[in-house]
Amino acid sequence: MTEIAGPTCSQAEVGPAESSLAGAFRRGDAGAFEQIVKLYGKQVHTLAGRLLAWSDEAEDVVQDVLAAALAGRKKFRGQSSLKTWLYAITVNACRSRQNREKLWRRFFNKQTTAKHRRPDSGKPDFEPVRKAVAALPVKYRQVIVLKYLNECQTKEIMEILKISESTLNTRLSRGRQILKESLKDWTETHE
């Protein structure tokens, strides 16, 4: 089986190996599922962590995503790659979680118990960057993360988020604008 690793959107094309893996997974082959977890588990974890602003809830989301994929494996028609499909599930899972948190905050006025990783001492403090990304509205954060951190292609982002190219460009532009404004002071001090 082809080894796919790394937190980027590379190798999104559907090859024959992936087609046979997808077929076996659809039929409920346990070995195929294990293979998918090995291939895409880390990538899903990375994407979830970035979408949740490097929260330790990413592991929980990964379990949610893989459980949802396992439960809904028959819905996968093979029109896109397995990774794109898993990314779409991850994006939806993160959005649902963020919406739940938002509602929780609104009705109970409480902060969530999610913890964020602190960088090691001696390294530059990127907490303001994390906060700026976390403060982005979900729809802008999704495109920023997929484009600049996961380095996905435009077509793939459109497939994952099910949006048009113009919408994607608008969101990217607006997200960049918000981030630049948020990080203006921080960049000045670190240049």
Binding site: F33, E34, V37, K38, G41, K42, H45, T46, G49, R50, W54, D56, A58, E59, V62, Q63, D64, L66, A67, L70, A71, H116, R117, R118, P119, D120, K123, P124, F126, V129, R130, V133, I144, Y148, L149, R176, L179, K180, L183, T187
Partner: protein
């Protein structure tokens, strides 16, 4: 800050903020399988609960419908019984009226029979009385005829004829008695 600088900044932040590595595949698969099993169990529980609720709802609806049906049936039966009672009452009234009429006619017939008998009895009595009157009138008349042959009995004969006329006015001897009384002249003796 241009697009490239932004990308570089985000990449550096990403590298700095990722300190923990994700759980290994085996542990992840185990957790996912556990989660799927829990999900399946919850779904089965939900399905069972839903089925139970549906069954209860169906029972409730069935019971309500059955009660409504029974009530409707009872109302229809009551109406039928009421109609039958009304018809029976009308028939009873007609029968009672007929019986009353029959009784009245029977009583009238009995009364008529009694009256007829009474009339017959009275008629017979009347006939007997008439016969007796006729006989008495005849006796008186023959006595007057006998006495009229004697010269000194004129007044007695006259009184006998007068008695026949007054007492038995309907007898067959009365016209003759009237005729004899008219011809009788007691001043010159008895008229022959």
């Amino acid at each position: 800050m241009n697009e490239t600088q932004l990308k570089e900044l985000l990449t550096r932040a990403d590298q700095a903020l990722w300190t923990d590595s994700p759980a290994d595949s085996a542990a992840l698969i185990h957790h996912v399988q556990q989660r799927v099993a829990i999900h399946k169990r919850r779904r089965a529980e939900l399905l069972a609960g839903g089925t139970l609720v549906l069954l209860l709802a169906a029972c409730l609806v069935g019971y309500t419908q059955f009660n409504r049906y029974q009530e409707k049936k009872q109302v229809v039966l009551q109406a039928e019984v009421q109609n039958e009672l009304t018809a029976l009452k009308a028939e009873t009234e007609q029968t009672l009226a007929l019986i009353k009429s029959v009784n009245q006619r029977s009583r009238q017939r009995k009364q008529l029979t009694a009256l007829q008998r009474r009339l017959a009895s009275l008629t017979a009595e009347r006939n007997d009385a008439d016969m007796q009157d006729e006989q008495l009138a005849g006796k008186l008349y023959f006595k007057a005829q006998t006495l009229s042959k004697q010269t000194d009995s004129c007044n007695t004969v006259k009184s006998l004829y007068q008695q026949i006329i007054q007492t038995f006015p309907n007898s067959s001897y009365t016209p003759e008695a009237k005729e004899e009384l008219a011809q009788l002249d007691c001043s010159n003796g008895i008229h022959l």
